[in-house]
Structures are given as C-alpha cells and as structure tokens.
C-alpha cells in the first residue's frame, strides 16, 4: 500500500516536472476570438460555417514569432441577423462579424462612437452585382403577381436589413410615395409565420428567405432584388483593436475564407448537402445561391461598386434619419485581403477587376449538346444520382419529364430567367412558349413572360403545362 503510494507520488512528481518544463518552454497565453456568424444567411456560410466545420482557420493561423506562445480559441456565435452581431462586437465579445450591406454600414457607424475600437470592413463574403438575393414574396394563393399589386397592402420587412434597402430603392425607382405600402418591420421568423398565416400580404427578406419560403411551398416570389439594379452583398468586419494587435490572424481568416470558397466550388453538390447538415437550410436552396451560375458570387475582394452601393445605403439611412455622417471609404481596409492574396500567390488586382462567377458547364446528356450559354442552361437534381447539366430550358423540362417517367425522384430543377439571368426553381417559373413549341423561355415574373410571349407570338404556361409541351415537342 505504502509502496504503491510512493510510486504514485513519484509518477505525479515526474508528470508535474515534465509539465512544468514544457510550461516554462512555452508559457502559452490563450486568446479567445469571438466570431459572429449568420448560419442561416446562406451567403455568409463561406465566411462562417464552412471555416468552422472544416477547421480552416486553425490551418492558416500563424505559429511562429510572437504567435509561438499564443493559443487561439475560437468562439463561434450564431445569429439570424446582423444587429446582434454588431451588439456583440461593440461589447468586445466578438472580434469578427459578418452581415449584409445595410447592417454593415450600421456597424461601421455605431463603432464611430466607441472609444475603444472602430470596425473595419476587411473582406466580402458574397455579392450579387444586380441585387438578387433579396426578394419579396407573397402567399402562393394570393392574387398578387407584381409589386404594384401590393399598393396599400400590408408588407413586412426586417427594418435595417438589406431587404429593407431593396424595398426602399424599388419604391424610389418607381417614384412611389413612402406610404405606397403599409410597411412594417418583422424579423424573418415572425414575417415567415405571418405570411404563411396570410396575416400580411407580402414579406420582403434577405438571403435565403425569398427562395426558401417558395421552396417550402407556401410562398411565391414576385419581386427580385435584381430589378433594383443595386448590388447586394455580405461582408466581414473586424474590431480594429484586435486587428492591430494580431494582423496575421486577420490575414489567416481571409485565407480560410478563400479556401472555403474553393472548397464549395470544387464540389457544389456535396458542399450544399454539408451546409444543409450544418445550418438546416435545404441543400436545393443553398445550391441556387452558391452553386454554379448561382445568384451569389463568392469573392473576398472589396470591389469599388460594392463600396459605392454601401455609400448609397448610407444615404438611404440618412434620409430616414437613422444615421448621421459616415464615410464609407475610410471604413474599408483592404490591406489584410491584399496580404492574404499575396501570401497565397494569387493576383488581387485581377480578381478585383473580375465579376465572373463560375457557371454551369459540361455535356448535356439528354439533348447531346455541350453547354455553351450557361445562362440559358438548366439543371436537374435527381435524388441520390446527382445534378445533371442541361443545355437549355426546353432540354431541362424534357429531361425532367423523361426522368420522372422513368420513376426517378427529382429533388428540384433549375432554369435561368430569360430577361434577368437569375437562377430560378423551374417549378416556380412562368414559361413563354413559342407557337411552334420549339423555344421555351422561363421567367420569374408572369408579366415578363406575358410581354415576351406577346412580342414573339406565343403563350404563357405554368411549369406543369410547359412540361407537357416540352415532352411533346422534344
């Protein structure tokens, strides 16, 4: 017994000695880094969820020099909108945060009065150059097909969000008075339930709700942000006190963001499935945003037109009396993203100038044609089998019917809007079919389809009718 005790004591002493010596060699200080993510806001996943789940940040963290004795611990906090992220950053609980354009400028502005730290925009997560991503949906049984149908009706939108900006811009473009709609503020959770219960006539929201609610089957999108022609985007902000102390960590974060973008594009189907697993947003909805030819382009470079859009946002907020002076250009800090590009041996200037997204490509096995015009193409997602690229809307519909006839389970099919180039769920689109049934042009808006049909001598069909035509024609 006593021998045993002696042995144990010796072992403990030895262990303590070893521990002590390693401790002396590397007296590690733990630095906790808070990162505020928006897991459900699909276009920030490459800046948040993916980095977290694949542990990309750990991979790029600096490990030598002053970092040899530092240990970083990451706290990932998930929110459903931007303002709580700003709140957490102001309280220094979060050092990094990601959010949409409007909350971003509110973030920068709010930090102006913080004596400890400011916030800086360090990278872009994803953008749509023409404003798609935000959208306005109505209940699928409602008689509203375009924005003007909602005159005097009750429309809700989360105030201070990118979607709010879209609604204001759309009203401004049309010269409508501020009381054209009865505009009320509702968070996505509240607005979605209200729309389902038909308590409101329309709900405008940011990514992914304008696609998610139609996908879930009770809503129809009648306005896409693309009509405002004002870019919409999500970005990453950081506290300056943190960034100045650990600039290499900020650079590492951007490298991880670039790696996350590459990971998604390497296998969009698998990535969408993983994101569904991690965030609960349906993979088909993730894919419409981030898949090939999707409505969001992931690109960390801070493009001038995005900054101009942010300056526009500031003006809108000032007109509403929600903001005083705020200089957007001083708030942008592209040193870190440039450094990350340089260290990864990537060309920042070339990427900055490019607005290219990756596109649907490959061979159309149904019509036996290569895909040459990606924004006239389509895709069919066959359950378990995979995503088939198709060369045209007509081929997509024909392939859809034929696969279905073979007893295959189809998750979803995508086509592109013929007028605006945005990706659509095929079953939600309107189809202008030429009288000789050769050409089929999909549209988001009934009105666009009708205009096109009137011009080209055809008629407008719903998805089900268009399927029949495609099959008989093909």
């Amino acid at each position: 017994m006593s021998r045993n005790l002696g042995r144990t004591l010796a072992a403990v002493a030895l262990a303590a000695a070893i521990y002590g010596s390693t401790l002396a060699a590397r007296a590690q200080t733990v630095v906790t880094v808070g990162i505020g993510t928006q897991n459900t806001t699909t276009n920030t996943v490459t800046a948040g969820t993916i980095i977290r789940q694949l542990k990309l940040l750990e991979k790029y963290l600096p490990k030598d020099g002053k970092y040899a004795n530092l240990k970083f611990e990451f706290e990932w906090n998930n929110f459903t909108s931007g303002p709580p992220v700003t709140n957490g950053m102001m309280a220094n609980k979060l050092q990094f945060g990601m959010m949409g354009d409007y909350p971003l400028v509110v973030n920068g502005f709010t930090f102006q009065s913080n004596p400890e730290s400011k916030s800086r925009l360090i990278a872009v997560a994803a953008y749509n150059r023409f404003g798609s991503g935000n959208g306005l949906v109505v209940h699928k049984d409602s008689p509203y097909f375009e924005l003007s149908d909602l005159k005097g009706k009750l429309v809700s939108v989360p105030f201070g969000s990118a979607a709010h900006g879209m609604v204001l811009k759309a009203m401004q473009d049309r010269g409508w008075p501020p009381d054209y709609f009865q505009l009320v503020s509702q968070s996505p959770e509240v607005g979605s339930t209200n729309l389902q219960e038909k308590k409101i006539d329309g709900h405008a929201d940011f990514v992914p709700f304008a696609e998610l609610l139609p996908f879930r089957g009770f809503a129809r999108k009648i306005f896409d942000g693309v009509e405002t022609n004002l870019p919409t985007w999500h970005g990453v902000v950081v506290r300056t006190d943190f960034a100045e102390k650990y600039p290499e960590v900020v650079v590492a974060y951007i490298k991880a963001l670039i790696a996350a973008n590459e990971w998604f594009r390497a296998d969009p189907k698998l990535a969408s499935e993983k994101i569904q697993e991690w965030t609960g947003i349906n993979k088909e909805v993730v894919y419409i945003f981030l898949g090939p030819g999707g409505n969001m382009t992931t690109d960390p470079t801070i493009k001038p037109f995005l900054i101009d859009a942010a300056a526009q946002d500031v003006k809108v907020l000032q007109n509403l009396g929600r903001m005083k002076e705020f200089d957007v250009t001083k708030w942008v800090d592209d040193r870190y993203v440039r450094k990350a590009f340089a260290e990864l041996k990537l060309d920042y200037e070339a990427q900055l100038a490019s607005t290219a997204n990756y596109e649907v490509k490959g061979e159309d096995k149904f019509c036996n044609k290569p895909i040459v015009e990606p924004h006239k193409a389509g895709e069919v997602w066959v359950d378990e089998a995979g995503i088939e690229p198709l060369s045209s809307a007509a081929c997509t519909l024909a392939a859809y019917s034929s696969l279905k006839a073979k007893g295959k389970k189809i998750n979803v099919a995508y086509v592109f809007d013929s007028a605006r180039g945005i990706k659509l769920f095929a079953d939600q689109a309107y189809y202008a079919v030429a009288s000789d049934k050769t050409a089929i042009a999909p549209f988001l808006l009934k009105k666009d389809a009708e205009d096109y049909a009137a011009k080209n001598g055809g008629r407008v069909l719903s998805f089900d009718d268009a399927l029949k035509v495609a099959l008989s024609g093909g």
């Binding site: 909108s81 709140n87 913080n114 004596p115 201070g160 503020s185 968070s187 959770e189 389902q196």
Partner: protein, 298 residues
Amino acid sequence: MDSAARKLTETVAPSPATENPLSAPEPVPAQLKTGWVWRWLALHRSQLRTLAIGAVSLALFLLAWHLLTKYRVTAHVRFVNVPSPEMVFDSLTRVARDNKFLSHVFLSCRRIFIGFAIAATVAVPLGLVMGRFRLVREIVFPVSEVLRPIPAIAWVPMSIMLWPSNEESIIFITYLGSFFPILLNTLHGIAMVDPVLIRAAQCLGAREASIFRDVYFPATLPHVFTGLTVGMGVAWVSLIAAEMISGQFGIGYFTWEAYSLVQYADIALGMICIGVLGLGSSALIRGLGRVVMPWAKT
C-alpha cells in the same frame, strides 16, 4: 424635502393667486393656516418620508448612471458603450416632438390593459373554483404548470398561427404573462383561508354560494391583489416579445426596432419607458386594492 414642500403647497393652496400660504392676503389668521399645514404634515408623515427617500434614491441612481457612463468605467462590468442619461434624455426630447412615440405608448398601454383585464377575469374565478373543488384543481393544475414556464418569446410563432389578427396575437401573449401569477396567487389565497371560518359559517347555516361570497372571496382578496400586481409586472415583461409581432406600433416594438438599428440610446429610452409604465400600472392596482379592501394593509 423640496418635493415634499411643493406637494404641500399644492394641497394647501390650489389656486395660483395664493402661491405661498404663509403670506396669504386673506384675513384668515395665519395661525390657523400653518396649523392646517402642520396637521397635514403630521398625518402624511410616513408617506412623505417614503416619497422623499424614493426621490433621493432615484436621484442617486441617475447620478451613479451618469458618472459610470461619463468616466466610461470598466471594472469587469463595462460601461464603455452604455448610453449616458443625457443621451437618453436627448432621445426623449427628439421622440417627444412627434405624436408617434405617444401613440406607441398608448397602444402598448391598451394592449396591456386588455390582456390583463381578460387574464384577471379568467384567472381569479378559475383560481377560486380550483381552490374550492379538488377535481377542477386536479384537471387544470398540470396543464397550467406545463404552460407556465414557457417564455413569452417562445409563444410568438404559435400566437401568430392561433389568432386571426395581430392585435389578438399580441394581447394573447400579454394575457399569458399575467394569467399564471394571478391564478397561482388566488389558489394560494384559498389554501390560506382559515378552515375555522368556513366551519363557523357552515354552523350558522351558510350555503355554498354565500360561503364563497362572504368568506372565501374576502379572505382571498389580499392574495388576489398580490397576484394582480405580479401579473401586471409580467405582462410588461412579455411586451417586447409580443410587440415583435406587430412590426409597427408599441413601446416594445420601439425598443425592438432600436435594437435592429443598433441605437443604444433609444433602447434605453424604451426600457425606461416600460419601467415607468410598469410602475404606474402597479401603483394603480395597489390603489384599487386599497379601495376594495380598506381593512387590509397593503
């Protein structure tokens, strides 16, 4: 002291012509007047004391808030970005200029009043019946105990689906908030009734109805009023969650909207406003309690 003196002036001399009771020009002997004042003072001494101490404590609170935010104190708890009382006052003067803020306040009060009134008219009789009849208690109690801990914010989506209009959804949430404290306190009140009183009444030939009316009800009233006061407080607590639904009006919505635009001064203003309204409504209930049960000390 200052406020006490002012109050005294108002009570003694309601007309502006006789501002100072000590130099009143009337032929009434000054002796009598000051005697009046002293008598009133002596009568209301304890209330005046409460009032004075309350005013001092509030002033100290404001001062502490002012100093903590002015020097941006950081002692584990951080006041770096907490809005100062001046900023909140600025917000107040800004919003006080338009009627919108007043309509926010008015609508919230109306919602609270309706929700609370329904809760009181349902919970008090239900509590009495539950306390008196064991079977009813056995049926209702488990359900109410399951529903009671659910926070107001969790009720938001259900409430939207349950009720045809938003206003009803909001009132439902404030109703839920106040319902359970009132019910539980009423139940507790019934349990506390001295069985000797019941037996005495029965010996004197009282029927169930009159036992209920003349023994149970008055004996339970103090507890009912405690329940009402607590319930009123919880109704205000539920307000922000409830008014998230409206998306347009109400002081809870005002606070919520300020949060979504990260305007800290407005958030604080909304919080204080809810606090003051809550205080006022609790005072109203206590006042009502005093009128209804002059025998009880509340």
